[in-house]
Amino acid sequence: MTTTTPETTEIATGPIHGLYTEGDPVADTKAPDVPIAKMWDQRKFDAKLVNPSNRRKLSVIIVGTGLAGASAAATLGEAGYHVKSFCYQDSPRRAHSIAAQGGINAAKNYNDDGDSVYRLFYDTVKGGDYRSRETNVYRLAEESANIIDQCVAQGVPFAREYGGLLDNRSFGGVQVARTFYAAGQTGQQLLIGAYQAMERQVGAGTVEQFTRHEMLEVIVVEGRARGIIARDMVTGEIETHLADAVVLASGGYGNVFYLSTNAMGCNTTAIWRAHRKGAYFGNPCYTQIHPTCIPVAGDYQSKLTLMSESLRNDGRIWVPKRREDCDKDPREIPEEDRDYYLERIYPSFGNLVPRDIASRQAKYVCDEGRGVGPLVGDFRRGVYLDFSEALSRMSKEAVAEKYGNLFDMYQRITGESPYEVPMRIYPAVHYTMGGLWVDYDLETTIPGLYAAGEANFSDHGANRLGASSLMQCLADGYFVLPNTIRDYLANGPFPKVSEDAPEVVEARAAVEDRITRLLNVQGERSVDSFHKELGQIMWEYCGMERTEEGLLKAIDLIRALREEYWRNVRVLGSADTLNQSLEKAGRVADFLELGELMCIDALHRRESCGGHFRAESQTEDGEALRHDDEFAYVAAWEFAGEGAKPVLHKEDLVYKAIELKQRSYK
C-alpha cells in the first residue's frame, strides 16, 4: 500500500497554517464504566427520577419537529413535562424528515438471517469508517427494535407481507435484511406518526406548539441554557421563551452547499448560534454526498432531488469514451464507444460500490470532460444510468413494477422517459454527519442544552449508512433524551430567570441588531446570489475531494465573500411582517461562518475517512486511507470569539468492543 502521505510533521508540531489553536481534550463523561452491553441500562438506572407531580413545573424547549424533535416533544409531553415546540414551517408535519424515502433499520432479526444488536452496532461503526463513538452507537442498536414497536402501535403503515407481518429489505450494502419501509415514503409515514403523537399532547395541553417561528439565539444564564430568542415569522415579533432545558433538533446543514437534497429552509442557524454561545461543534467537515441524484439543469436550479439508490441494482452506469460523443443521443453511441467505468474499475462490485466511491468516480469522468447532459457553466455534470439492458432482460412490466414511481418522478422533473432514454444522474450533498458535539446523554458543552437527530454529531462517524438516520432520530427522541434529560431536570426547577436579566436582554438585543444590520446594508446583490456563490466554493473545494491547496483557497474566498455580504447584500421589505428574504439572509450569514469552519476542519484532518476524502491520502486503488495513529478522534471545535481562531478539542475514540480495520471493497 503506497500513499502520498501528508506532511505529518506539521501536525505533530502544531496547528496548520495558524488557522486554529488547540485546547484541552474533551471526554464523554456520562457513559457508565461497565461493559458496553450493560451501559445503557446502568445509565437509565443512575439517572435521577422526577416525581410526576413536579414535572408540570419543569419546562423544556424543543427546537425542531422532525423525527427527533417531534418524538421528543411527544414523549416528554406524555411524561407530564411542560414542552414548548418550535418549527419554521407552518406545521410540524413538514419538517424535512418527511422526505426520507428508503427506510429505517432495526435489529429485529425477523428474517432469522443472523442479525443482532451487535451486528447492527458493528455495521454502523464500520460504515462510519471507525470515526464514531462506540458507546452511543451500541445504544442506538439496542433501542432500534423498540422504535418499530412504537411506530406500529401508532399506526405507521409499514409494508407488510401477505401473512400480515412486516416486510424487510436489505439496504446500503449490508448483508442482512433489517430495513423496515413504507413504499418510498418511509420518512413521511414515520413523521406523521410522531407528529400525531405530538399533536395529541398539544390537545392534552402538555405541549405548546409554535409554528412559523425561527429560533435565532440561545439564552445562557449562569452557564446553563435557559431559553431561546425566536422570531414570529408572521408578525416579525422577537419573542423570549424561557425554560429549564433546551433541546436542539433542528436537522442538518447540507444547504451550506446551496444545492442539496435538503429542503429550502434547512439551515444551521439554531446550532450555529448555540456554537457561538459555547457549544462545541463536532466534525463539521463530515458530509455525505449521494451518487444518484437528478443533475443540475440550469443556473436557476433551486434544489436537487434524490433518486433511490436501489436503481443501481439494475441500471448500468456509463459515459462516452470520447468527449466528442458527449452531446450525442446516447442511443446512437455503440457499445464499444461506451465506458462502463464502475464495472471497469471495480469488476467485483461494479455499479454497487459504496456511495462515496460511486460519487467520486462520477466527478472524475465529468472533470475529464466526459460528462453528459446540458452544459452548466463549462461542464456537463451527469452520467448515464441505463436501463436498456434490464428492459430487454426483464420486460418493461417487471421494470415498471420495481422502479415505476421513480421513473415517473424522473420524467416529471426532466421531461425524459427512462424507458426510452438512459437516465442522467449526478452526486449531490445529502446528509451532514457533523453537528453539535454531545456526550452520552446528548448534552452539549453548555449544561442544559441538548442536541438530537441530524443536528448532533453523534452516531455516524465519517459516513452514514442508509436507513440509519431515521433510526437515530427516533432513538434520540423517543428513548434516549427522555431518559437522560430527566437526570438534569431532577435538579430543577432552576431559579426563575426574569425577562430583563442581563443575559436575556443581551441575547435579544443581539438578534434585533443583526436584523437591523441586514436590512440596513441595502447593497446590490441578492441573498441568493451570495448563497449560490458560497455553495460553489464549498462544492468545489470542500466537496467530494479535498486538497490542502483547495481548502486554503476556499477559506480565503469565503472570508472575502462574507466581508462583501455585510457590505453589499440587499434585503428588501421590513422586519415586522412575513419577510422571506430576511429569513434567508440570517441563515446565509450563518452559513458563511460555518463554511469556513468546515474548511478548517477538513484541512486539519490530513487523512481520508468515509465521506471526507483528502486527495493526499488514498490507497493505490483510490480508496480512503485513514491514519488511525493520528486521527482516531472527534474534532470538537470551540468558538473563540468574532475573528478569533477556533479552538480544537480532541475526543479520543476508544474502541473496546470493535477492532479498528481499514475499509475495503475489493
Binding site: 406545521s91 418527511i98 399506526g155 407488510r160 400480515g164 399533536e199 421531461g415 441578492s526 428588501l572
Partner: protein, 247 residues
C-alpha cells in the same frame, strides 16, 4: 418562453389585495414553476421591489408546504404539487393567474401565503392512536392483513397541502379528514378510538369554518396524492356507526 403572470399581492393579513401583472422572459421548460417565481423574485429584488411571498420547503412533492391556485386550478394543470409542476406544461405567450388558496379556514397571511393551522387542530382533536412511548407491544404480536395495510398506506399518503379545500366550492376538508379516518381505521390498533375519532374531528372541522361535503369531487381531482373519494364514504360510514353507538 415568455409569459404574462397575474399574481395576487397582499401586504398583510388585513391589507386589501390586488392582482398585479408581471412579464417574465426566457423561461426554460425545464424549470419548475417555483423556480420560475424565484427568477421573477430575483428580478424584482434587483429593481428594488419587494419579492412575492410564497410557501415551499421540500420542493419534491412530499412536505405539503407549497400550494398555489394556478389559472383557477389548485396546484395547476397536472396531477402533482405546485413544486413538481414544470414549465413544460405551459406555452410561450401564455397568461397565467396565480392566487393563494381561498377558504375561510385558510386566511391569507401575505401575498400567496395562507394559514393552514386549522389542519393541525383537526389532528389534535383526534387524528392519532393513543399510545405512550414505551407502552407498545412487540410489533409482530398483531398481524395486519396486507390489503388493509395497503389501503391504510394509500390514505396516509396525504401531505396536508390543502388543495382539496381550495378546490372545493364549499371549502370542505372532508377529503383530508376522510384520509386520516381511513388510515387509522384500517388498523387493529386504531379500533378503540375509531368512533370517538370521527366525531371529534368532524366537530372540529365545522368549528374551523370548513364547509360541508356535497359530493362534487373537485377535491379528488385536485389532490396531488390521488386520495380517492371513497375515504369520504368511509368517513360517513364511521360517523353513522358512531352515532348509532351513541343513541
Amino acid at each position: 418562453m415568455n409569459l404574462t403572470l397575474k399574481i395576487w399581492r397582499q401586504a398583510g393579513p388585513k391589507a386589501k389585495g390586488e392582482m398585479v401583472t408581471y412579464q417574465v422572459t426566457d423561461i426554460s421548460p425545464d424549470m419548475s414553476f417555483l423556480e420560475m417565481l424565484d427568477v421573477l423574485n430575483e428580478d424584482l429584488n434587483a429593481k428594488g421591489e419587494e419579492p412575492i411571498a410564497f410557501d415551499s420547503d421540500c420542493r419534491e412533492g412530499i412536505c405539503g408546504m407549497c400550494g398555489l391556485m394556478i389559472s383557477g386550478k389548485a396546484h395547476g394543470p397536472e396531477v402533482t404539487t405546485t413544486c413538481q409542476l414544470h414549465m413544460r406544461s405551459f406555452h410561450d405567450g401564455d397568461e397565467i393567474t396565480i392566487e393563494p388558496w381561498r377558504a375561510d379556514a385558510f386566511p391569507v397571511i401575505k401575498d400567496l401565503v395562507v394559514d393552514r393551522s386549522a389542519f393541525d387542530r383537526l389532528i389534535q382533536a383526534g387524528g392519532f392512536i393513543s399510545v405512550n412511548t414505551g407502552a407498545a407491544p412487540e410489533a409482530h404480536s398483531v398481524p395486519v392483513p396486507k390489503p388493509r395495510a395497503d389501503r391504510a398506506f394509500d390514505a396516509a399518503k396525504c401531505i396536508g397541502c390543502g388543495a382539496c379545500v381550495a378546490a372545493c366550492p364549499n371549502a370542505s376538508a372532508m377529503l383530508f379528514l376522510g384520509a386520516k379516518v381511513t388510515h387509522l381505521g384500517e388498523f387493529p390498533q386504531g379500533q378503540p378510538e375509531r368512533s370517538a375519532r370521527v366525531v371529534k374531528m368532524l366537530t372540529q372541522h365545522d368549528l374551523e369554518g370548513f364547509g360541508g361535503c356535497t359530493n362534487i369531487g373537485e377535491c379528488t381531482n385536485a389532490c396531488p396524492k390521488e386520495i380517492q373519494q371513497d375515504v369520504i364514504n368511509q368517513l360517513n360510514i364511521d360517523l353513522r356507526h358512531a352515532l348509532q353507538q351513541m343513541t
